[in-house]
């Protein structure tokens, strides 16, 4: 049993004596007898390091990582250069907290400022915050930005957003009394633009994904124009890697871009921690929630960084704050910054292009398997696509698993009643692995 406490029993006794107390219990004299726990917690005895490792090894042994994976659906296995985790594990970063004391936190503040800049460069927008919890909560915060900026409580949201994003938006909206109107997907799997025109009414704006959950590429420019036509603001939920090959949301008329930065160097880690990013036009900068680092100088003129625009935040504004967010995902944001710096424009474009090409090679191969059909054959996609099959999706998935391949996601797991599958490829999928998956599919559907 270790409690990581340096002081010995003797030292503790001396410290109690210095305070003038007889024993440890005297420290807790203010706690009424009736609420004291006068028995041990119902936990096992403390474990040594060796025993904790054993406990984890036994759990990890029951969590299998496949030889090859074709599963995305909101969490993507891209290559993480070796330098990324090593730098992110500098303990001056990870054992610090929010940089309240700027002079001794210049490293983290500059890293935040750089993250904000990188997100602006990636999205083509003017300002970004220091991160929020994940993509889904970034979208929820963006909805709050829309309703605050427009003073309207209705927002259009595309059915093409990830089911978890839609679920989180729905939860937040219920309690903030925001009316969400879902824009359906048309027969090509993209947001139904006439529906937007007919149902906008007095909406504050639209939230739509690029690419959408089914992998389809949306016509961002037209969505932005349709939103602006009713006087609304357009929020684009983007997959950062897609921006290696696609025009940026800011160039296509988005007022706000949000998304999940997981693909930027963060491990899958069973769903988190990931990092939500938010960028906006200059005009909406003061509506952004959460921490923002800004550049200034000290009295000698040295460039310095501080947390700024804090009059938006909960510790100053309390019930009038733009959001309640305090802790964010700073270390994950630094990780994403390191990743983007290493990849640079060419590396990100190459990873994006390879992901797209391999997904198309996979889709092409699958469409030749009798019994498998691309769901939206006429719609361009990035690195993910939905298929419908003549066999049960769980059966298909199970057959692949026997060969240590994690196939596309059986959609019924997160879209009740959907019998299709959602397949994904990235630069990590070697051609021989794709061919292996295709040959298993050939057997399954033979």
């Amino acid at each position: 049993m270790r409690s990581y406490i340096p002081n010995t029993q003797r030292e503790r006794g001396e410290m109690l004596a210095a305070i003038g107390l007889p024993d440890m219990d005297a420290l807790f004299a203010d706690i009424p007898e009736g609420v004291r726990l006068n028995r041990p917690l119902e936990l096992s005895r403390g474990m040594s390091e060796i025993e904790v490792r054993r406990a984890f090894a036994s759990l990890a042994a029951r969590s299998g990582v496949p030889h090859a994976s074709f599963r995305g659906a909101g969490a993507y296995g891209h290559y993480i250069p070796a330098a990324v985790p090593q730098l992110a594990m500098r303990s001056e970063f990870y054992t610090a907290y929010t940089p309240y004391q700027a002079e001794m936190s210049q490293g983290m503040l500059q890293a935040i400022f750089e993250f904000q800049t990188l997100i602006c460069q990636l999205t083509g927008l003017d300002a970004a915050n220091a991160s929020v919890y994940d993509g889904a909560t970034a979208a929820a915060e963006a909805v709050n930005m829309l309703t605050a900026a427009k003073r309207k409580n209705k927002v259009l949201v595309s059915a093409g957003l990830h089911p978890d994003v839609r679920a989180v938006l729905k939860t937040y909206a219920r309690f903030s009394k925001t009316e969400l109107v879902e824009v359906p997907l048309n027969e090509n799997g993209v947001a139904d633009i006439p529906f937007i025109e007919q149902n906008a009414g007095d909406a504050a704006g639209l939230v739509a994904a690029q690419p959408n959950f089914f992998g389809c590429l949306e016509d961002t420019r037209t969505l932005a124009d349709a939103t602006h036509a009713f006087g609304g603001l357009f929020v684009n939920y983007v997959y950062p890697h897609a921006l290696g090959v696609l025009a940026r949301p800011g160039e296509l008329g988005a007022d706000i871009a949000v998304g999940d930065g997981q693909s930027l160097g963060l491990p899958l880690a069973y769903g988190g921690p990931y990092v939500g990013f938010m960028a906006s036009t200059q005009k909406l900068m003061r509506n952004l929630p959460g921490r923002i680092a800004g550049e200034t100088t000290d009295k000698d003129g040295n460039r310095a960084f501080v947390l700024t625009l804090q009059a938006r935040e909960q510790h100053i504004r309390r019930e009038k704050a733009s959001s309640n967010i305090c802790s964010n995902q700073m270390l994950c944001a630094v990780t994403a910054s390191i990743y983007l710096s290493l990849m640079g424009p060419k590396g990100l474009a190459e990873a994006a292009n390879q992901s797209m090409q391999k997904a198309h090679y996979l889709a092409e191969g699958m469409s030749r398997v009798r019994g498998i059909r691309l769901r939206y054959p006429a719609t361009p996609f990035f690195n993910e696509f939905a298929v419908d099959c003549d066999r049960d999706s769980e059966f298909v998935s199970g057959a692949l698993k026997e060969r240590f391949i994690m196939g596309g996601l059986p959609l019924n797991r997160i879209v009740p009643g959907d019998s299709g599958m959602l397949w994904c490829a990235t630069e990590l999928n070697a051609r021989e692995d794709i061919d292996a998956a295709l040959s298993v599919l050939e057997e399954v559907f033979a």
Partner: protein, 483 residues
């Protein structure tokens, strides 16, 4: 360290450099996959730097930062305890696990969540937890949504007021508003606790609940907690426990036994997961049995024989508050910590956290103002004396001078109800000699504040930059690099 600014990664950029390579494309390269209107028109303006450039850049940035591994970090209300290295290693065992992996492939991870939940229930006395919230404030929001859902289910639609003490964290009122409540502020009693008469007067048919941190942000245990709970419950409200200060009472008292109905825990405070420079955290929310139906889905269910499962069939659930299941790798670190300490170790941690705070307070009470002269819990709140203030020495000056002594300053100017507050939370991780060193520095600063106050305004002198001009930063915000 001498004063210096440090180049931005963008200022290191040289056209053509890159820090990564990928294998050649091994499938046919198709053209025209992207519709004309969506094709990237410009090369992304990201920095172009070599691997060694990036490695040196971030290594040197990290040297301009200060974490718990560098030294004493008594940031009140943040519990900056030591982050065990073991936990970093074992949590990484799940790094490759996809969140939508088949449940049988993810069984170890699901079981880990179920076991962590069981540990948290034992420590707090609650019946069930959700692990989904990503941070303390996110947990607050989730917990308050549960309270709203509870009242709604009882057709009690007019309970719109959340009571919040004036000593509360700023997140409390902000979360209440996001959850659809109005807030009503409770003025604290002179001893720093809840004023029972004010509470009775504030409670009524519109009371949805009371948010309370116990021990409070003054570091004081709410002696009247049983009576407070009784008053709120009598009025039909629920009691919310802000778990930011749980490090004071592990194994000593449990929030559920005090009468609370809902709480959040900051795994990154009490359970030693690293704060990451501002996150990621994790803010699990615990509830009594009557609130279980409203928990976010999926709910983790413990199974037999080392199994566990995710239950999505929750018709009364408030829905999801975050993608997937929460900050899993943070949960894994907390689980490792609780396994390491066990029942006795957690109690010992709280005892020593409280001992250390009292040791510091006791050693400084003759030279600083102590607004509440009582035994404190895991943190103590001090303030400059009137003579210091008359000399023009403010809390900021004391904090900035501490930096030159090699310490991270305490939380300052919070809680708001103490003028010029200095909130010190040493945690159990610190040795007596570390505390003695800090005490000596604080005493020396107190002496200088009276004898040569001007000296304190020049600090810090040992950092890469001096005090930044925050007014300029806010007036003309520059929040990104532009060429």
């Amino acid at each position: 360290m001498s004063r210096s600014s440090y180049p931005l990664i963008f200022e290191r950029s040289r056209p053509g450099r890159t820090g990564c390579d990928l294998p050649p494309l091994d499938v046919p390269a198709l053209e025209g996959l992207i519709p004309e209107g969506l094709v990237a028109r410009v090369t992304l303006p990201l920095p172009e730097v070599a691997e060694v450039d990036v490695v040196r850049h971030y290594t040197n940035l990290s040297r301009r930062n200060f974490g718990v591994d560098n030294g004493f970090y008594p940031l009140g209300s943040c519990t900056m305890k030591y982050n065990p290295k073991l936990n970093e290693e074992v949590s990484a065992l799940f790094d490759g696990l996809h969140p939508l992996a088949d449940d049988d492939c993810a069984m170890g991870a699901i079981r880990l969540m179920a076991e962590l939940e069981r540990q948290l229930c034992a420590i707090t006395g609650f019946d069930k937890f959700t692990l989904q919230p990503a941070a303390g404030a996110h947990g607050e929001l989730t917990g308050l949504m549960l309270i709203r859902a509870y009242h709604d289910m009882r057709q009690d639609f007019n309970r719109n007021v959340m009571l919040v003490p004036d000593s509360a964290h700023g997140t409390n009122p902000a979360s209440a508003v996001m959850a659809g409540f109005e807030t009503r502020e409770l003025v604290s009693a002179p001893d720093g606790g809840i004023d029972l008469e004010a509470l009775r007067a504030a409670c009524g048919p519109d009371t949805a609940g009371l948010m309370l941190t116990n021990p409070s942000t003054l570091g004081l245990f709410e002696k009247n907690i049983v009576e407070v709970a009784h008053i709120v419950h009598e009025a039909g409200g629920l009691l919310y426990y802000d778990g930011a200060n749980l490090n004071a009472v592990m194994g000593v008292a449990r929030p559920a036994d005090m009468g609370f109905d809902v709480m959040h825990i900051n795994l990154h405070k009490t359970f030693s997961t690293p704060h990451g420079g501002g996150g990621p955290g994790s803010g699990p929310v615990g509830v009594t049995a009557e609130l279980i139906p409203y928990l976010p889905y999926p709910v983790v269910m413990m199974g037999g024989a080392g199994t566990a499962s995710l239950d999505y069939d929750r018709p009364l659930s408030i829905g999801k508050v975050k993608g997937f299941y929460g900050n899993f790798a943070v949960m894994a670190r907390a689980y490792a910590y609780i396994l390491s300490l066990g029942a006795e170790g957690l109690r010992e941690a709280s005892q020593n956290a409280v001992l250390n705070a009292n040791y510091v307070m006791n050693a400084l009470r003759d030279v600083y103002d102590v607004p509440h002269e009582r035994i404190c819990m895991h943190e103590c709140v001090l303030a400059p004396t009137k003579r210091m203030l008359d000399n023009g020495v403010h809390t900021t000056d004391i904090a900035k001078t501490l930096i030159d002594y090699g310490y991270h300053p305490p939380t300052i100017y919070f809680p708001l109800i103490v003028h010029e507050a200095i909130m010190i939370e040493p945690t159990e991780s610190e040795s007596r000699e570390t505390l003695d060193g800090f005490i000596a520095a604080m005493r020396e600063i107190a002496r200088v504040a009276l004898e040569e106050p001007g000296r304190l305004h020049a600090s810090p002198a040992t950092t890469p930059v001096g005090r930044p001009d925050e007014v300029q930063a806010a007036r003309k915000p520059v929040v990104r690099f532009c060429e």
